[in-house]
Symmetry: C5
């Protein structure tokens, strides 16, 4: 379960049947040093998150539950929340060695 | 669930029975900084993606669903879509620290 | 299954129904060289860990068990313990090449 | 699902009962830039791959299927194919930034 | 499924009920270049491995099987073997580019 930032969208015409009608977002995992990760996750979004918003992402069974099309489906990642805020008191310690 | 680029194919003669007749692609995960990842995923492809095309990749139960040979199979990754386009408004921010 | 340090909290108003009432922590995986990882995991916390405490984190079925809302839920990571102590006799060898 | 090179073997006398009689290989994931990854996966091998051969590796349910000892077992990774060849037309683009 | 070295132990008093009485080890994944990874995995150990020993680690269903407390448990990683020896004929090629 991750927090990530919505950086874009994916379109696919040729796709597995159970993906039809879903909105697929490109999500960049959030790092505590605020550096942008180049790694990118694709997630089905049933909530309607906007570009730039931070979202909660889940995988596997939790994602299938969130989309609500049963378990015989061809996707495995979903948005389950739009983040209002992160409170990170220990963020400042990120990437400092052995204090 | 990832977007990746099809960079090649894999052939295996000695293999688990349930892999017979499937087409296996080498897929390179897409990164938002457009740098090529050297990490490589193997995915069964029921759609017929071409070399150089971007595809949607899933793992586990979703992959078994996409291939449609039941759940007693020896593969775990599959192509579920061929990407028409990526719209990445926030791509430019990739790999820039703490703006 | 990981040990990580609680570095903050996440708030989300718009979220999947089964996430309501849960406390979500931002957790930074512990490394044996004590360097802070920037990678961040989100975990539901049924125990009440404080900022700065080290916790045990699990994923998937174990996380659903720990939260106790059944398996039809939209989360997949949970805190299952608050660490009293780490005893790491071989810690000093971290990041030394080929002694 | 990965392609990797068999770099060695593992022996264990004290082990979980369901691991008895299985051959465990050390496998190094293949990267498209041909650099050797130091990351190493352990996989049960029901096929009989040789040192230096490239193999297809799967995890979880697919691995349990491939070994054929049911699902109440203490291993989770298996060899499901010995690779005859990789055809990688886009390999040359590996690790080049933003062409 | 990984080989790793036992580098220490974890203690937790406040923990999920099904973790009681289990021994939790800190395990560092083995790399073929023998460099110490700083990444650390926590695994329940039913075998009794010592500090410094190399062990086989599994995740998910295989780990629940190895511990033998059923599938409604709050852990997901376990030791399934103590390694007697690694035979790695191709180890010397680790981390050399494109020979």
């Amino acid at each position: 379960m991750l927090v990530g930032t919505v950086i874009g969208r994916v379109w696919a015409t040729r796709k597995e049947e159970t993906l039809r009608g879903l909105r697929f977002l490109l999500v960049r995992p959030w790092r505590s040093d605020e550096a942008d990760s180049a790694e990118t996750i694709v997630a089905a979004d049933p909530i309607g998150a906007d570009i730039g918003e931070k979202v909660l992402i889940v995988f596997g069974r939790a994602a299938r539950h969130a989309i609500g099309r049963g378990h015989d489906v061809g996707f495995q990642t979903a948005v389950v929340g739009v983040v209002d805020g992160l409170d990170v008191p220990l963020q400042g310690r990120a990437n400092k060695d052995e204090e």
